[in-house]
Amino acid sequence: MFSFTESPRLTEFERQVLPHLDAAYNLARFLVRNDQDAEDVVQEAALRAFRFFEGFRGENSRAWFLSIVRNTAFTALKRNRMDEETVVFDEELHGGQIPPLDVGLALDRAHDRQTVRAAIEQLPAEFREAITLRELEGMSYKEIADIAGVPIGTIMSRLARARVQIKTYLDGGRPALRRVK
């Protein structure tokens, strides 16, 4: 009944992109680490996606849209200096031996959502991205590598290191100083 406001392009955009808004917000929220900035990122990303929608060839709309969200979020992080730490990828770690590691406790019901969120938020941005796309969105290594614009081996290394850091945090090895929001 609102056909007078619609165009085929808008309808197709709504069909392809809008179902991924929750995933977009989840990713943005873990990257920029606060609600308002995440909403701004998703809104800006949606506008960009609509503007460039003609260039989308219809293969994987989720990965396409999330790559726009991630680029928008990283731009915001740089602009606002919300993320002072940067990851220097350690090539030596990739393909390295398994370090001795205490198996310790698995993540269990005792860890509430906020604790788990804090464990992810203390990671460097590139690690937060890998963890969010893998654990929350269930994306393949290939999809994550394409979105992040790095080789699959880099994603494997980031995931491995991120999981160790999350585990260390949840096992009680969290930093003594809490981040002030």
Binding site: Q97, I98, P99, A106, I120, E135, E137, G138, S140, A160
Partner: protein
């Protein structure tokens, strides 16, 4: 490419957890895990951690995982 007889790497354990291990390494890693109970326990811990995060925050938790 990792030599077939080389020790298993940490990244490979995560790829195993994620179902992303190449077919030509799956057999070797599985055999290695069968002989290394400590690392088999570690793999179980990674899996539990991933599942725990997904259960709390996964937007598509009920969706079929892409393989």
């Amino acid at each position: 490419m990792v030599d077939r007889n080389s020790p298993v790497t940490e990244e490979e354990l995560h790829a195993y957890v994620d179902g992303e291990l190449p077919a030509d390494r799956l057999e070797a890693v599985t055999a290695w895990l069968a002989a290394h109970a400590d690392h088999a326990a570690l793999v179980a811990a990674w899996r539990a951690q991933a599942d725990g995060i997904r259960a709390r925050y996964g937007a598509v938790a009920s969706e079929r995982r892409r393989t």
